[in-house]
């Protein structure tokens, strides 16, 4: 008998098959993922989880008997009251409450679980960040050890045995250190000669030789401190692409919970997306009424303010924060603004100027999302902010805007904004 411990074997033996399965069912899975994401709460949107795909798409057909018609026989255990010749009502469509239901594979959906990683991959497939290439190399904050030859001192853990032994071998060869086998052979030879008559001279000469060699062996060590080499590592700084995402939102009284929910969903998607592309993503929340303030997430989404609506204050606040904390040459800056479209009419000009001269030059991308109710759809030609932004959007590809009035539109709109060859994108094929 043999006992083998397989527990430490590399796992994931089925991974390749699993990936093949997902690749095969890709179109189905992608659709299912998108449907599932619509039903989820924002916090769970990046979690993997159950995915249901129609069994038809991943079916493995076999030749088998149908479950209808013909004459069938069953043998069942646990008879209590029946005697020969009794009639039993046929249970409806359940295949006689017997083996028949067990052998048929249902036409059900196929359900399985996706990991977070797989879910996001499919969820954000074919999306691209606009202008990613432009400022990819950013702040230096990490170093990585890189092999850089050898050195003669170092910690024991980085001792290079092969290099040390190579040095030792060449030194021993150069200095003529006798090999242990040679010495053993000489000893054997001497022993042999000692046994013979008339070979004393030879034996004596050999003995002297042996003595010399032994001395040499003592003098020339097997491993000399000179031989020892250690692997050398250099710490190489590694550029880390990082991004900051500005969430601007109007929190004046006219923004109701529904609108905020839409905005929040959009922000979550954007955050997820940025997180996939950048090692580090900072988020700044700026809310504004007639004055703007940087707040934390909780306050941003849940507390209410009253007051008028002056959009330019938020842009000023953003410009200030960028200057203070996120120098534009070190950060990729993205901004998303959500509003119901109200603005103090006299502020519009100011807002546009700020956008054009300060904000857009700083940003990789600026998305404006106008949230509303579905009943507002098709009502006239848009809000005051929409009308004000329209010429900017037309002239600057770094800016895009969309209207959203229902939860289910968020994802399509998001995809529109970030589709690989889509609106606002420069089609940069860069990879983060």
């Amino acid at each position: 008998m043999n006992i083998i411990d397989r527990r430490r074997d590399p796992g994931g033996k089925s991974l390749a098959n699993r990936q093949r399965f997902i690749r095969r069912a890709r179109a189905l899975v992608r659709r299912a993922v998108r449907e599932a994401s619509g039903k989820r709460s924002i916090k769970d949107i990046d979690k993997g989880g159950d995915i249901v795909v129609p069994a038809d798409g991943v079916r493995e057909p076999v030749l088998r008997r149908g479950s209808q018609g013909g004459k069938r026989e069953y043998v069942l255990p646990g008879n209590k009251k029946y005697v020969r010749g009794d009639g039993i009502q046929r249970p409806d469509e359940e295949g006689g409450g017997s083996g028949a239901s067990a052998d048929g594979e249902g036409e059900d959906d196929f359900r399985f679980a996706l990991s977070n990683e797989e879910f996001l991959d499919l969820f954000l497939e074919d999306l691209e960040l606009p202008d990613l290439a432009k400022r990819q190399v950013m702040g230096v904050e990490e170093t990585r050890p890189v092999r850089a030859g050898f050195r003669s001192s170092g910690p024991p853990s980085s001792l290079s045995v092969s290099r040390t032994m190579r040095n030792s071998l060449s030194r021993r060869t150069a200095l003529g250190r006798p090999r242990p086998q040679d010495i053993a052979a000489m000893e054997a030879e001497i022993a042999r000669l000692d046994g013979l008559e008339g070979q004393e001279d030879k034996a004596t000469a050999l003995r002297a030789d042996l003595e010399r060699k032994r001395t040499r062996m003592r003098v020339v060590p097997f491993i000399d401190p000179l031989d020892v080499r250690y692997r050398r590592y250099d710490q190489v700084p590694r550029p880390v692409a990082r991004a900051v995402m500005f969430c601007l939102m109007d929190v004046s009284g006219s923004m109701d919970e529904h609108m905020k929910d839409l905005a929040k969903r959009f922000y979550s998607l954007l955050y997820l997306f940025l997180k996939r592309r950048y090692k580090r993503v900072d988020v700044v929340f700026i809310r504004h009424t007639h004055e703007a303030k940087e707040v934390d997430e909780e306050t941003f989404f849940h507390s209410r303010e009253s007051g008028g609506t002056v959009v330019s204050t938020a842009l000023e606040e953003m410009a200030r924060i960028v200057q203070d904390r996120f120098p534009a040459n070190q950060w990729n800056i993205y901004a998303a603004q959500a509003s119901d479209g109200d603005n103090l009419p006299m502020d519009n000009l100011n807002t546009i100027n700020l956008l054009k001269s300060v904000i857009l030059p700083l940003c990789q991308y600026y998305a404006y999302l106008e949230v509303g109710h579905s009943r507002d759809d098709g009502g006239g030609e848009g809000s005051s902010l929409w009308r004000a932004y329209a010429p900017v959007v037309a002239s600057d590809e770094r800016m895009a805007m969309r209207k959203v009035s229902h939860r289910r539109d968020i994802y399509p709109v998001f995809r529109e904004l970030f589709a690989k060859e889509g609106a606002g994108g420069t089609g940069a094929e860069a990879e983060a």
Binding site: V62, E73, G104
Partner: protein, 532 residues
């Protein structure tokens, strides 16, 4: 080391507090185990299995695995290595989810019909469960694999590991050479026909997998050595061959093609006109693997019965000998009874006859008949009743029967009464189902015959055969489903499989469903993307 220390300390404290009669004879104490314990357990189990029961087994190789690895094993039909295909990934995805959600537990062990016999055991099992598992798999199943005639006839335990590794490498090489997509599509098609890629009756075909592997290499080498590009340029004698073919009458053609043939994959491998060499080889691989698993389907109930009876006997003997404690024995009984539980037909949990339950009950019954028979047993089973040699009788049964035949031979009236078995006929021409026989004097034989039929794999798989090929004309392949009791094939699936079949064959395929009197249905299929 620290584990051992903990174990030792535990042992000590137990010894002080609990009055165990002969503490030194216990194999283990408490649920913990290590490799030394496993070795001790295995030796004790084998001592009873081989010494007292006289079981004859392959060498055993015990492999301790984690639950994740068990999931991996599930999705490759338990085999340590298997070719890659998305359908295994599908199984894996489903099992993984079921397991993670707690809908489904994992098996305690998986055992492989190979020499040496590989038993996977889970690290989570307690020491008692490991004992049970070793008795069940390393003794029970192992003996059955080595001795049962179906396995001896159809499988080559010593060659399977090598053959699978050859298959895996071969398919991987094909993927490299011809593209993953092409290979995957071929395997899809072959899998669809896998249940009809089996020789059900032994002919002169030998099943030595090592030879198979060698022969494939020789075939290739031979083909390569014969290859001469010049031949390609020699003009073909036109009209000569078709002329001789035309002369063949139907009988002759069928004789040459060895028709009818129920092994569809075999037929395609040998005859399909447009397949490449590597495609034939892959069909062959899939078919041989299906063949390897065929005995398992034929003997599922007996195999489990044998293993369950064996573990029950070994555990009981271990307890009698004082090698496992009362607590362990109760833990074992708890697990054992849930394994052999048979819900009755009107129970919500009923989902067919539990092979463990029926198998175990039959083995116990055979033991009872040979030791303490009643008059009824004497008249029904004169050959074994009261022969006094229960072990010998059982071993003979395990060696020479399969599910269908053991039931028709040894299902006793006693057991039919005990399980309350009754036979229902559901003829869709009638309004009601009818109770055809119950567990009474008039019904025993009929119930037994009906149950045996249920376990006849050759009967439960639809009987589909290749009956003719129109070689001279449009090369249409003709198949026939010999309909039994008016039950036809599931339509949607059948059309899908036929599509695969047509793609493999390369020309039109027609399947007729009929019995002696009636033609029930006809399916036709043209190739859409023929393999070539």
């Amino acid at each position: 080391m620290s584990d051992d220390a903990v174990l030792a300390r535990k042992k000590k404290s137990r010894l002080v507090t609990a009055p165990v009669p002969a503490p030194s004879s216990l194999l283990f104490n408490g649920p913990d185990w290590n490799f030394e314990t496993l070795g001790r357990i295995f030796d004790a189990v084998r001592e009873i299995g081989e010494g007292e029961l006289g079981l004859d087994t392959y060498r055993t190789q015990i492999e301790v695995i984690t639950s994740e690895q068990m999931l991996d094993a599930y999705s490759s039909v338990g085999m340590p290595l298997f070719y890659k295909h998305w359908s295994f990934g599908k199984d894996f995805a489903r099992n993984q989810m079921m397991y993670n959600k707690g809908y489904q537990g994992l098996a305690y062990e998986i055992v492989i019909n190979s020499d040496p016999c590989i038993c996977y055991i889970m690290e989570e099992n307690s020491a008692t469960m490991q004992t049970l598992v070793l008795a069940h798999a390393a003794m029970g199943h192992n003996h059955f694999f080595k001795n049962n005639y179906v396995f001896r006839q159809w499988t080559d335990a010593s060659g399977i590991a090598d053959y699978l590794s050859f298959a895996k490498a071969y398919i991987a090489k094909c993927e490299e050479r011809y593209g993953i997509e092409a290979v995957e599509r071929l395997i899809d098609a072959a899998h669809a026909l896998q249940s009809h890629g089996i020789h059900r009756y032994p002919g002169k075909r030998s099943m030595d997998l090592a030879t198979e592997e060698r022969r494939e290499k020789e075939r290739r080498a031979h083909g390569e050595s014969l290859f001469n590009d010049l031949w390609r340029t020699v003009p073909q004698a036109k009209g000569k061959k078709p002329a001789t073919k035309k002369k063949l009458d139907e009988e002759r053609r069928k004789a040459i093609l060895k028709l009818p043939e129920e092994n569809i994959l075999y037929f395609l491998e040998k005859t399909a006109p447009r397949l490449q060499g590597w495609q034939r080889e892959i069909l062959r691989i899939i078919r041989l693997i299906a063949q390897y698993f065929y005995p398992q389907r034929q003997t599922k109930m007996m195999n489990e019965g044998c293993a369950t009876w064996t573990h029950h006997r070994i555990m009981t003997r271990l307890h009698e000998k004082g090698q496992i404690g009362d607590g362990s024995y109760l833990e074992f009984l708890h697990s054992h009874t849930s394994v052999v539980m048979q819900p009755e037909f009107d129970d919500r949990r009923y989902s067919g006859i539990n092979p463990y339950a029926l198998g175990f009950a039959m083995m116990q019954d055979i033991e009872r008949i040979s030791l303490t028979p009643t008059d009824e047993d004497r008249s029904w089973f004169p050959d074994i009743a009261g022969n006094g040699d229960a072990y010998g009788t059982l071993k003979n049964v395990w060696a020479n029967f399969r599910d269908e035949s053991i039931i028709s031979q040894y299902l006793s009236p006693h057991l039919i009464r005990k399980m309350g078995l009754f036979h229902i006929v559901d003829d869709h021409a009638e309004d009601e189902m009818e109770v055809a026989a119950i567990h009474d004097e008039r019904g025993y034989r009929e119930v037994r015959r009906a149950l045996a039929r249920k376990y006849d794999v050759a009967r439960s798989d639809p009987d589909i055969q290749v009956v003719d090929v129109d070689l001279a004309g449009d090369r249409r392949l003709e198949l026939r489903h010999n309909v039994m009791d008016g039950v036809t094939l599931e339509e949607k699936d059948t059309d899908r499989v036929l599509q695969h079949l047509a793609d493999l064959w390369g020309y039109e395929v027609r399947l007729v469903e009929a019995d002696d009197e009636t033609v029930y249905a006809e399916h036709k299929c043209e190739p859409i993307r023929p393999f070539a």
